[in-house]
Amino acid sequence: MTEIADFHAWPDAQGRFGEYGGIYVAETLMEPLAELTAAYEKLRNDPAFIAELDRDLKYYVGRPSPVYHAERLSKHVGGARIVLKREDLNHTGAHKINNTVGQALVARHMGKTRIIAETGAGQHGVASATVAARLGLKCVVYMGAVDIERQKINVYRMRLLGAEVVPVTSGSKTLKDALNEAMRDWVTNVTDTFYIIGTVAGPHPYPQMVRDFNAIVGREAREQVLEQFGRLPDVITACVGGGSNAIGLFHAFLNDRDVRIVGAEAAGEGIATGHHAASLAAGKPGVLHGNRTYVLSDANGQIVETHSVSAGLDYPGVGPEHAFLKDAGRAEYVGITDDEALEAFHLLARTEGILAALESSHAIAQAIKLARELPKDGLVLANLSGRGDKDVHTIAAREGIEL
């Protein structure tokens, strides 16, 4: 296990988090990525850009989102206090907007007129279509045909916002294939097109840029918890698919060594069944979608099809910074099954009046487990990364209810 002096010092100049990350793409993309890196490096240190972003986050997204002490849930669980970071209250209903607002501003500064995005659950697609509409940019969203079927409401939302939704029918017809297709579009149309990647994966600078735009979640939460409870949480948790909401929450706490960090991956029907999407818990280091990270692949190195009740976690890779945090021993990654997530969904609905996204329900399930391990004055902070309205049909269908 490597000793890391400062977790905020990554990635390095090559875009690497230790041995993870980097730029594993075809030659054609090297120059566009170099241009993006240069543009982003300039903007991220530019006070005018930062002020512009802060304004958008405050007045358009509705930040800061509150930190909410879920007292009835905590009491029901009978352990430590469970506190929720309410990213579900953001405009468009999830943390994804933090990133798309930021990247859209970068796109505009770079003079790009067309936005493309990939989406799994549709939350990132909606968040991309939203910012594109607001800035008057053309928007094309790639989405796996399977995901289009299980997330019809979000598909319609994107179309209402003026985006073109392109079904992807190759491979497993899910998020990873949508990402391949978006990357192909970008290679072909790179002069006028900006690719808004929705998670902390992809080639450098995406894992850094997407993290930076989401890191406001943890910065706010850290301050809010200190203010409300007079101390830092004992443990923080978030769901991990690609890992953008998780890194967003975790980043501000990485150097607080006493704060335990736990990521909840989708264990689907159970890791032992092979039907899951737990890249960190069950995968191996490999190369996928432009970066070195933990991936789920078979003996021939083919990326395998994943399973989760939640489309947003159904991804066979994971952001390279999570791979780095796992190897460094700074964060633990555990699996939450479909059933555990659904149970947490219902419990949160009944005790707190909050419908969580199925993705976020994995974090709630993990928070419940962690709270049980701690005394009553303990403090568990979970990222409620999105709201569950989009999942109502999935849940009803799973429970045999016709709407």
Binding site: I23, A26, A34, V187, T188, L288, G301
Partner: protein, 266 residues
């Protein structure tokens, strides 16, 4: 001198342009793969690019992706690909073979094990599409074992990088003639002639040009200024409908013959 270097030296002294067909290993038929490789040589191939199937071929268009998916569905993996090369080598010691693919299958095989087995099988070079020069430290065991690391250059490659690519090029430098995926768009040959001439003047290694070459006319136009011409998607597309292994060989011959003739008529 390596097999690739010998082949390009022979082409140069004969004043010929190299023909480099690309096929996806295991497509259209795993059982007919070795026969197909020999068929490509009989049809005029100077060097063969053999695609290693990968589930997520980000830089490839639909034609090669579907060929990959068909091969994967038949269980084709890197070990099969190496076995076919070894079988091909039993009766062809001269035609260089370059494996083209993505890193993850090699990563899972293990770089050191792959390097040893690939050399043993008779592979000459490796083109890892998602491994640019900047990340190619991972391929060090392959280079140590004597495999040429084939590098790509593209219309978007900036000057500084191009100089580094020309310096590092081994075997040959693969110039991607336009920014896009394999099998897309038409070529505007005038635009790339000048660029390729510039690269040839600087590169230690010969320059092969690919992406968008689909028939005798486009091959001949590219052949005017390249050391070799790569033909991929158009050939894979032609092979995909083959009814049998024999049919695939026949299709390869019928497709490549006019291209070979056009290159030789220069």
């Amino acid at each position: 001198m390596s097999r690739i270097e010998r082949r390009f030296a022979a082409l140069k002294s004969a004043g010929r342009t190299g023909l480099v067909p690309f096929v996806t290993a295991g497509d259209p038929s795993p059982d007919g793969m070795v026969a197909l490789l020999h068929g490509l040589v009989a049809a005029g191939a100077d060097l063969i690019e053999l695609g290693v199937p990968f589930s997520d071929p980000m830089a490839d268009g639909p034609v090669i992706q579907h060929a990959s998916e068909r091969a994967i569905a038949k269980g084709v993996g890197l070990a099969n690909v190496l076995a076919w090369v070894a079988a091909f080598r039993e009766t062809d010691a001269e035609t260089p073979i370059v494996l083209m693919g993505y890193l993850n299958p090699v990563e899972m095989y293990g770089y050191a094990a792959f390097a040893e087995d690939a050399v043993e099988a008779g592979v000459d070079g490796v083109l890892m599409v998602d491994c640019p020069l900047e990340e190619s430290h991972v391929l060090e065991p392959l280079r140590q074992a004597g495999l040429a690391q084939i590098l790509l250059a593209s219309p978007t490659t900036a000057e500084g990088r191009l100089a580094r690519l020309c310096e590092a090029a081994a075997g040959f430098l693969y110039y991607v003639s336009f920014a896009g995926i394999t099998g897309a768009a038409q070529l505007s040959t005038g635009d790339i002639a000048e660029r390729v001439a510039g690269i040839r003047a600087r590169s230690k290694a010969p320059v092969a040009v690919g992406f968008g070459v689909r028939d005798a006319a486009s091959a001949r136009a590219i052949g005017e200024f390249a050391d070799a011409v790569v033909i991929g998607s158009a050939l894979v597309d032609r092979l995909s409908g083959a009814a049998s292994a024999e049919d695939a060989v026949g299709r390869a011959r019928d497709f490549l013959a006019p291209i070979r003739a056009a290159l030789d008529a220069r």
